[in-house]
Symmetry: C2
Amino acid sequence: MTKKSVLQQARAAYQPKLPSALWGAVKAVKGAATESVADQEEIKKLFPNTYGLPELRFEKDNEVAKKKSADKEVINIGVILSGGQAPGGHNVISGLYDGLKSLNKANRLYGFLMGPGGLVDHNYMELTGDIIDQYRNTGGFDIIGSGRTKLETPDQFEKGLEIIKELNIRAVVIIGGDDSNTNACVLAEYYKAKNAGVQVIGCPKTIDGDLKNDWIETSFGFDTACKVYSEVIGNIQRDTNSAKKYWHFIKLMGRSASHIALECALQTQPNYCIISEEVEAKNKTLNDIVAEIAQVVADRAADGNNFGTILIPEGLIEFIPAMKKLIAELNDMLAAHPEIKDMEADEQRQYVIDHLNAENAEAFASLPVAVARQLSLDRDPHGNVQVSLIETEKLLSEMVDKKLAAMKEEGKFVGKFAAQHHFFGYEGRCADPSNFDADYCYALGYNAAQLVNCGATGYMSSIRNLSKPSIQWIAGGIPITMMMNIERRHGENKPVIRKALVDLEGKPYQEFLKNRAKWAKETCYVYPGPIQYFGPDEVCNQTSRTLYYEQKGK
Amino acid sequence: MTKKSVLQQARAAYQPKLPSALWGAVKAVKGAATESVADQEEIKKLFPNTYGLPELRFEKDNEVAKKKSADKEVINIGVILSGGQAPGGHNVISGLYDGLKSLNKANRLYGFLMGPGGLVDHNYMELTGDIIDQYRNTGGFDIIGSGRTKLETPDQFEKGLEIIKELNIRAVVIIGGDDSNTNACVLAEYYKAKNAGVQVIGCPKTIDGDLKNDWIETSFGFDTACKVYSEVIGNIQRDTNSAKKYWHFIKLMGRSASHIALECALQTQPNYCIISEEVEAKNKTLNDIVAEIAQVVADRAADGNNFGTILIPEGLIEFIPAMKKLIAELNDMLAAHPEIKDMEADEQRQYVIDHLNAENAEAFASLPVAVARQLSLDRDPHGNVQVSLIETEKLLSEMVDKKLAAMKEEGKFVGKFAAQHHFFGYEGRCADPSNFDADYCYALGYNAAQLVNCGATGYMSSIRNLSKPSIQWIAGGIPITMMMNIERRHGENKPVIRKALVDLEGKPYQEFLKNRAKWAKETCYVYPGPIQYFGPDEVCNQTSRTLYYEQKGK
């Protein structure tokens, strides 16, 4: 038995709160037939059996006479954790377990190990009550592990079907992000098309917050991860406001959208926060961003404040239009001329500059030498530039330093500039879930069991009305095809769940916009402190600022 | 008014718990005359007026008839925050304020701004109740700021005396680490020698935990900082135990001792933790450490576990005897031959290797090229190698990677190795204090006011019996000279408070030693979670593991 911390022991007793609709027996109320958000004809053609399904909403079923257990059909479920960790995964599984057992004590839950690969390779374990109890309200995906294998090919689906049949599994529940839920729908369609008698249900997971839409208000884990990042950002802000000598460049996980950076900015009120979606929309260059930051530093220095904090979304580089073009041309050049990588550093740099088009050559030349070299040297197995290796936080501070030196010569900067760098990601992905995530995840899992029970497939477990107390949350299921459109991915048109980027017209961003000039100039830091589980309601049960502003007035 | 987080608002109401000895009027009970821990004759000569003073212990004074405020002499105190931030500094000041006001409502508290420099330069503010109330139970030193100016010269002391006289200040309370407390004693001696009527009292602050001895059980801030680091280390451990694909190299602040690394290891049970004091005692080389880590990685890989966590104390490099020698010779070489820094990289490297002695040349050549170059290039303003710039966590993982590649060729490593890097320091220095630090700091400050009231100077505020409930804590004062010895610093013999390194015979280290082989091979991670303020007693009021083991059985 592993040793448990005192907090873990105390927290094990927490009973997540369920929406009242899920207390006791439920009935599924069907809405009207649905359409995908775009490309309806194409999506319909690709998902003939799972397209156009109605929304489902669960209500209390007061009329149902409880059948005896013996009369009920046994339902076995297999559950999969897919992709990166997010706080609350264990509560989805414990909710699923409790929901399944509430239907019939003879039902069984199996966990496929280390992600979708466990289904294909027949690696699994039965999740019994003893095991589940060890993981209630804890962070991490270690109960069955996670993995990044993509379920995409009929061969995989057939391999999965073998073990599904062997274990008499009625449904597979896939806990994952947008891609994993897209694949869950592909799998649902495949099994339904061949009448395999296997349902597939998805659950919306990702700390990045980019899986959300009109029906899925937030993905789980976002709330907790942002609270952990905001805790340490707040601590850093206290530090710099005490020592008054450093600018802290803080990079935050999340490559495909800037929701995390925005949420942390709303929680902590830093001096500057980059929103990648804005950078792209305004066609900003790296130099534009550097100039803006340098100006903020200079303006604060003019007030005698040679310190501050800057939040940087991990995916920034890929949102800068000029960098995107540069990287695309570099990829082509290096594929066509593999000999470049064997050149001496100086020769290589000159060759690259000479052969890029003028615009890209200028962008390349403006980068610090080490970063430029990284771009022209380090490739991933597919031969692509490894943008994720670039330490954006150091790149930016180095460029700001240079810019400020130039401004100093022109008398436009009077002060000191010294930087510290941070990158937060792994620090929050497996944190113990906040009360919000603990409740939300448990409800998502419990609800998934009800979706299986009512025969649904190709649905995502949906819990809504999340800014209200959990008793008022709305439980149901949303057809996954409803969230889909056709996007170009790796040179192919694919049906995918539409990714939710930061909406520049949305209320959370607008709230940020309204305040950022003040936050830049003055010192308006807020110190959220660590997540609390036992204190006053307003301390323990606050939702993310993003969700708060999005739902405000709804 | 700055915006406060909901937790900050709720936490403001917390009333720190005082030792019962400090409830109401107190009397100071004197112990026997004291001696310094070593070099008694020399210390006595340097501190003729503050050497040999008795220990003081406060007890309830039931006999004293309370004087009316009007009859009491007014006591004004000036307080200084010195050096790096530590959680709880604001509570020392609020305790000091409350203690001072409990003696006489007419007493005043002044804060000198941005560290000891505020005393010398006459920058100060009065700390009134309104201001104090904004900072109770919060982290940071932002109430008056901190700084690293050292109070060492008579000129500074005289400048300080001007403002002290102007404000009618009876005593200066210096909140700082070992060096700041040494200087507090020098200042006390100076003012006493000239009969200036100014007392000086120190308070033991540092997250590093290296200011402790038989009379000061722990420095404040250590408890909270280690809990914050352990929270995120625990989260990282959950992550790697879920994804099972990374070795996390985690560097922890604390250059002069490894208490933080040891405490975090006891809290989280990582796979490996370097204790610099052990490295020095066993005369280990960098290659020895790399070989040990590589063996731990290989042993886990043999079990199929290609993941783990490694804790690294920030000061490691300076504890490795071979590196110390190398750096010393490099410093001399570069001072004698400044032209080296202008050489081309390859030429420089060869020159350095050719001119170092054989042992140092070997150590230099074994370093990754970039690190070696950093050693031979980057200097601080005094011309010394900037050891702190070396990213030890990356240096180690790079060397381990290389070592494993060699072991793989020999068939001694079968597995994968991929690393992630972290450095935690600023994330914890300004965290909101744990209940322990909130209480301890408040008591230190309240107690300091009593020390001033009873006329003590050259004393450190001392609160003991800390592993017991706070009501049983022992309050008093320890003559600072008692903790001193003579050490060689920057080529000079100086009287200093003896620094507390990790005691390799001590119980905390012995506890680590007993378990580390098991923690290395198996996965025994503990996940402490975030600091809690409102929950069950055992969750909110646990002391550091270091203090627990040190006090166990006492």
